[in-house]
């Protein structure tokens, strides 16, 4: 079986004596919805950024769709990426923000518009109302929905999310989690969070990081009976 993402004994060290990830091995199958759960500094964001090569392994390797990527630009155009900050391009309209990747891929404008309209509809950003607005005119939640549309428009095989909702208020957060799952249903989703409730709501598989290692890899049900003390603490924080 070919896994869409495979970490092969990956170590990431910032300095010779500061290890961020310590010999991680992990396989993710196409279509899985995976959460990387952990406290801050546990290594989950670094693990995520290995996938789109924003971080390079110090040793070990990462394979995407069975091969170690060489053309990083092409790789990144196939992978969606949403961060905690919407990081929209402030000088570009909502539509032009969303159209970034398809324009890099040289789609024709009619196809871009069609796909943008469909996605914006799913994310409750009606095209006629939002297309020509600028990021500064949007609320935080709206900006993050634009960021999601921008990440998904190229029909990426993988969507990476790094705490995309942690800056939003709790009500909007739940709403956006539902929207994200539905909009990203055709892609493999890797979602970084420190919030166990969010992980349980979004993921089919939860991988718990601590001090650069994986301490648990379980389904939401499996996690509930996991005996690692940190996992117990995480679960206790949810209730």
């Amino acid at each position: 079986m070919i896994y869409i993402i495979e970490y092969r004994d990956v170590t990431v060290a910032a300095l010779p004596d500061v290890t961020i990830l310590d010999r991680i091995s992990l396989r993710i199958a196409a279509g899985e919805r995976v959460a990387f759960l952990g406290r801050s500094g546990a290594g989950k964001t670094t693990a995520l950024k290995l996938i789109n090569a924003l971080v390079k392994p110090t040793s070990g390797s990462i394979a995407i769709e069975g091969t170690e990527p060489h053309d990083l630009v092409a790789l990144r155009r196939r992978i969606g990426y949403v961060m905690q900050q919407p990081a929209l391009f402030p000088h570009r309209s909502v539509f032009d923000n969303i159209a970034t990747v398809p324009r890099l891929l040289e789609w024709d404008e009619a196809r871009i518009r069609e796909r943008a309209e469909e996605l914006m509809h799913q994310l409750d950003l009606p095209l006629e109302r939002f297309a020509s607005r600028y990021p500064r005119m949007l609320s935080g939640g709206e900006q993050q929905r634009v960021a999601i549309a921008r990440a998904l428009i190229g029909a990426p095989s993988i969507l990476l999310c790094d705490e995309p909702f942690s800056a939003l208020d709790p009500l909007i957060r739940v709403e956006l989690q539902t929207m994200l799952i539905s909009a990203a249903r055709d892609t493999t989703l890797v979602f970084v969070t420190h919030d166990v409730r969010e992980a349980l709501r979004i993921a089919q598989r939860i991988i718990v990081f601590e001090a650069g290692r994986i301490i648990a890899d379980a389904t939401p049900e499996g996690l509930a009976t996991h005996e690692h003390p940190l996992v117990r603490r995480f679960l206790a924080s949810a209730t």
Partner: protein, 203 residues
């Protein structure tokens, strides 16, 4: 009539000089941003040039072939050298100020370094770059009055003549239009700067 001609000369020298300084300074500032070492050297050189007293600078240029001598040419060369620093520095600062998250998002979307520079970083740095151009232009309008000392023409001609004849009115007839030109340049370029800032989403 003479006043109009001298103002025209003055403006022409400044516009030519600042245009050349933009053409050289923005790429230099970009280089300074991309390659720290080369950029450090470029900044130090433009910094050092800035410390040369302007009258001395015109004097240094007189004996030099090609770029020096007497007339508008050394005047333009000197003004380019003075205008370079604010433009190089503002380009560098403008590029450094681009939100690192925005840069990360662009990279993660598969932009090449060149695409990142042209479609994200330079447009976002534009208001800051224009601010540098504004400072360069206003300074150049002032410094250009000294160009008359090397036969560069412009409003400085009236000022130097007035100083020689101890004629305050004559001095003012050169100094006031120069000051007005500087104010006008400042006003127009501030507008341009705001226009770009608005587009960038700041104002």
């Amino acid at each position: 009539m003479t006043l109009l001609r001298l103002t025209g000369e003055h403006l022409l020298i400044v516009v030519v000089a600042v245009t050349i300084a933009i053409a050289a300074g923005v790429p230099l500032g970009t280089l300074a941003y991309r390659r720290r070492r080369a950029g450090g050297i470029a900044l130090r050189v433009t910094d050092a040039v800035q410390t040369i007293p302007s009258l001395a600078m015109f004097g240094f240029l007189i004996p030099l072939p090609l770029i020096g001598g007497i007339g508008p040419r050394p005047a333009i060369v000197a003004l380019v050298l003075y205008s370079l620093l604010p433009i190089v520095r503002s380009t560098l600062v403008g590029l450094q100020r681009v939100d690192p998250h925005v840069r990360e998002a662009a990279t993660a979307m598969g932009m090449t370094d060149r695409q990142l520079l042209w479609s994200i970083e330079l447009p976002l740095a534009t208001p800051t770059i224009v601010a540098g151009i504004r400072i360069a232009a206003v300074t150049a309008i002032g410094v250009a009055t000294i160009a008359a000392a090397v036969g560069g023409g412009g409003l400085g001609t009236l000022i130097f003549r007035g100083v020689a004849m101890v004629d305050t009115r004559l001095i003012l007839s050169g100094a006031l239009p120069a000051a007005l030109l500087a104010l006008a340049a400042d006003f127009v370029l501030t507008r341009v700067e705001r226009h770009f800032a608005r587009r960038r989403g700041e104002a």
